[in-house]
């Protein structure tokens, strides 16, 4: 997507931004702000500690574990062990849609509930394990769930409550309920990212592989890193169904425990959000022999490309033909929609500071609208999300990353079966299918675009002044800050309660929503008319006497 037109050189504004910082901070921030040259292998500093007091976009490990990864699973009771707040703030705020009636009318759905041990000061002093065990028992007695996940919050780690031991005991006691814990205290790691890793590990340890039932369908895949915000997952499901591809499990939009348990029976893993879930793909590959590749369903062209990749992988002409048919069916209305939106959007400029993959994915959608991303960055990305997986061996593991458990995964003696031979994978790679790879965001961005990791509020303000973007994409904390400066902000975590934006229908929704934003009249009426007159030379001019 890199544009032939060079963007304005941001070197001066970068220096201006850094000049405000105390020297030590400036040196650190300089490494996290890279003026992109897609031809070069540039190194960016990321996944390092947030500087205290800089006003960051970032959240915590608990948010990544409970909020992002486990939150969208409907039939598990997600019990938060800690004071009330942590459970409260993660209660329905991520808008993961789920369809509990999909399989059985009246299926289990605990998504609308917030469960907490509501720790009090005496639990902090004397320990909260007893209260936790009791809360698990009560949750079981009232709700009879098939699983209970226990999430550790900051004070739990400090006082040393062993959530894993309590979970083990209760699992044994209850008999028919899978109880397991997550050491996802908020202070671990440097962002939400650590929480994703912890969530992946525990799902892999406690759930994946529990059900060896053979899938009934022909082409079986898992979709990893799709959380069904605004119904994205539903739209992707629709496309897959149309093509005759069976999604065994989506991690973790619209997911259930049973789907997780059976997911190791898939032929292929498709990775959407690389940052949150590459661990799961790798572990399933090592243990069960399931290959994975990166896909992107954000953007109609990307969706078509991803579907074709799946066709290539299965090497089945009938499937490939079906995929082409579906693309041909879907595309005309997409083209029509984009042509209409483009009248407003062509040539406009966007900035994206969000998440750990979306800042990359959404550039494709903007590209389809003829809009260029001048500056982008991740809230909790790692170097490989920017620079591609080739840098994995060179990433320095610091103390903060070392605190996150790496689980040792080995080939499952009985169940490991390579779904594709080495030769086949090599052949596919030669065809351009990036098996077990992700090239990162930087190569897809324009020359001289500015990449900023963990952007601060100060940098946001200065860069808005510099680029004067037509649209800024970030989250709820940034929304009104940016809008008060007269720039519309599109939330890309909650989609401003729009969506879906994935797949073909999603792309159409996105085009329409961006068109709506770009043609919203009020932005031109922000200044009171009498203020405009002052700067209007025609009105200010006086007759010469």
């Amino acid at each position: 997507m890199s544009n032939e037109n060079k963007l304005p050189d941001p070197s001066a504004i970068k220096e201006e931004i850094l000049a405000k910082y105390p020297p030590k901070i400036a040196r650190k921030r300089a490494k996290s702000m890279v003026i992109n040259d897609p031809e070069l292998d540039q190194q960016i500093q990321s996944n390092v500690r947030t500087i205290p007091g800089i006003i960051t976009q970032r959240g915590c490990t608990y948010a990544g574990c409970k909020g992002v990864v486990l939150g969208p699973t409907r039939d598990i009771v997600n019990l938060v062990h800690g004071p009330i707040g942590c459970s409260f703030y993660a209660w329905l705020t991520r808008r993961n849609q789920t369809d509990p009636d999909e399989q059985v009318e009246g299926g289990d759905n605990y998504m609308n509930y917030a469960f907490s041990t509501d720790m009090q000061d005496d639990n902090i002093v004397f320990g909260g394990e007893k209260k936790l065990a009791q809360a698990i028992q009560e949750a079981y007695d009232i709700f009879k769930p098939k699983a209970i996940g226990v999430f550790s919050t900051c004070p739990v780690g400090l006082i040393g409550d062993d959530v894993h031991a309590v979970s083990r005991e209760m699992k044994e006691k209850l008999g028919d309920c899978n109880v397991f814990g997550f050491s996802c205290e908020g202070y671990k790691g440097v962002s939400q990212s650590a929480g994703h890793h912890i969530a992946n590990n525990q799902l892999f340890r406690h759930v994946i592989g529990l059900d060896d039932t053979e899938p009934k369908h022909k082409y079986n895949v898992n979709l990893l890193g799709e959380y069904n915000i605004g119904g994205d997952g539903f739209e992707i499901d629709r496309i897959f169904k149309k093509c005759g591809i069976n999604i065994i499990c989506t991690f973790s939009g619209n997911s259930t425990m049973d789907k997780f348990a059976n997911s190791h029976m898939a032929d292929l893993n498709l990775v959407m959000c690389h940052r949150s879930i590459n661990y799961m793909a790798e572990m399933q590959e090592t243990k069960f022999g399931i290959p994975w590749f990166k896909v992107n369903f954000i953007g109609a062209e990307s969706t078509a490309k991803a579907m074709r990749k799946i066709g290539e992988y299965f090497e089945d002409d009938e499937l490939k033909a079906r995929i082409e048919e579906v693309i041909a069916e879907e595309m005309p209305s997409v083209k029509e929609a984009v042509a209409k939106a483009k009248l407003k959007s062509d040539g406009k400029v966007a900035m994206l500071f969000v998440g750990g993959s979306r800042a990359h994915h959404y550039q494709e959608l903007f590209g389809e609208l003829g809009m260029q991303t001048v500056s982008a960055g991740y809230e909790f990305g790692h170097r490989d999300d920017y620079e591609g997986r080739k840098v994995l061996p060179t990433i320095k593991v610091d103390a903060d990353s070392r605190n996150i458990e790496e689980i040792k995964v080995e080939k499952d003696e009985t169940r490991y079966s390579p779904r594709a031979s080495e030769e086949k994978l090599e052949a596919l790679k030669e065809k351009g299918l990036e098996i077990s790879d992700y090239r990162g965001m930087a190569p897809d961005m324009a020359d001289q675009s500015l990449i900023v990791d963990d952007i601060t509020h100060w940098e946001t303000e200065k860069l808005i002044d510099f680029y004067k973007p037509d649209i800024f994409c970030a989250g709820i904390k940034e929304k009104y800050v940016v809008q008060k400066s007269g720039i519309p902000l599109k939330q890309l975590h909650s989609y401003d309660y729009g969506g879906p934006y994935a797949g073909f229908e999603g792309a159409k929704n996105f085009y329409a929503d961006i068109e709506k934003i770009l043609s919203t009249s009020i932005w031109k009426k922000i200044k009171a008319p009498w203020l405009n007159k002052e700067t209007d030379p025609c009105i200010c001019a006086e007759y010469v006497a």
Binding site: K20, G53, Q57, T61, G85, S116, I142, I159, K477
Partner: protein
Amino acid sequence: MLLRHTPKEVSERKALTVNPAKTCQPVGAMYAALGVHGCLPHSHGSQGCCSYHRSALTRHYKDPIMAGTSSFTEGSSVFGGQSNLLQALANMFTIYNPDLVAIHSTCLSETIGDDLAQIVKKATDDGKVPEGKKVIYCNTPSYVGSHVTGFSNMVTGIVKGLVEHTGEAKDQVNIIPGWVEPSDMKEMKGIAARLGANIVMFPDTDGVVDTPQTGEFKMYPDGGAKVEDIATSGDSIKTLACGKWASEGAAKWLDSNCKVPFETLDIPIGLGATDRFVEALANAAKVTIPDSFISERGRLVDVITDMSQYLHGKKVALFGDPDQLIPMTEFLLDLDMIPTAVVSGTPGKAFTQKIKELCAEKAPNVNVANGERADMFLLHQWIKNEPVDLLIGNTYGKYIARDEDIPFIRHGFPIVDRIGHSYFPTVGYNGGIRLLEKMLGAVMDRQDRDAEECKFELVM
């Protein structure tokens, strides 16, 4: 059914909270700190807390909520957060140039025992706080009390940190408005102005979380209680603390440290509480209540007399914060409505007692709970056992309202799916009319919706 697993049978729970009717202290502290002009709130703990609190407040107010965080990592949790806080203060003053920083703790920094007083002193001694700038602080352990407690602790932190007691009496009354909306604070200031009472109000988020769109982002909006005004509150004639839970702490501090006597009042929601507020303020400020107040009050009474048939005898379930629920319950009783279930997650025995006292005559069977495990799950079970005509509470009530098909009005914190709370007060006589309008709207919409075609009427 969205809450399909909530059984009608109420079983005793000793450890499990489901769907809390409260949240944790720091979010309240952050909101209170925003009510001081030029203040940058700061959360001392993991950055997730700050992120969640900023998000929660942003969703409710739909306005920028700026705050810093100490961004603890595992190391700071073990070795203490002093160096993070010192660095944060230096960075915030250098980069963001606030007049003052208001620090609140979190369960993390509380558990490791960080001493905010000592760290702030060190920051000052080390020159990390520029000349003329201030740092105030309070302790807000999340495992004690609720968001209301946190609000109260920060209000106390504000007076402790900013009041300069000169001993020279000043002809003014302090009003601590409690955890209310910016619109409510504006209305209380309006009442004082119409009375001709000289007041100092803090915190005051009017003009801070309801800022105008002018095309210019202001990190420190024009509103908020001025530091120099708060400083004089130690010399005031009296403090009116609205809401025992949110405001009494600071009022007591002013009493014991500056000899400013205080009176704890209900937040002026509804007829009775507003009457008491107006009288108390007039008495304290030594002004006569002008006749215009007879008209102002009379309009609220007029609407009640005109429309009471629609509300009379209607059963109501409500949940939220004690300072809000007490005058709201009193108002419902004044309207001859019947509170049947009242729940607040915020602890304090006085709450249950007070609601029972209020309801003793007209609604003796009211179910009341507060504190631990007084949650919306329990409220929902009570509603299943005794259906109601109206539900009042924050946005989370919409799940119960939909499942049980109950008319619902949003009141309290957080309201994330409607607007109005920032702009239209529910306090004072005018606020009473707004509340009535909302209740009547909900109840009459239901009557219209359910009416058979032959009974559907134009004039109601």
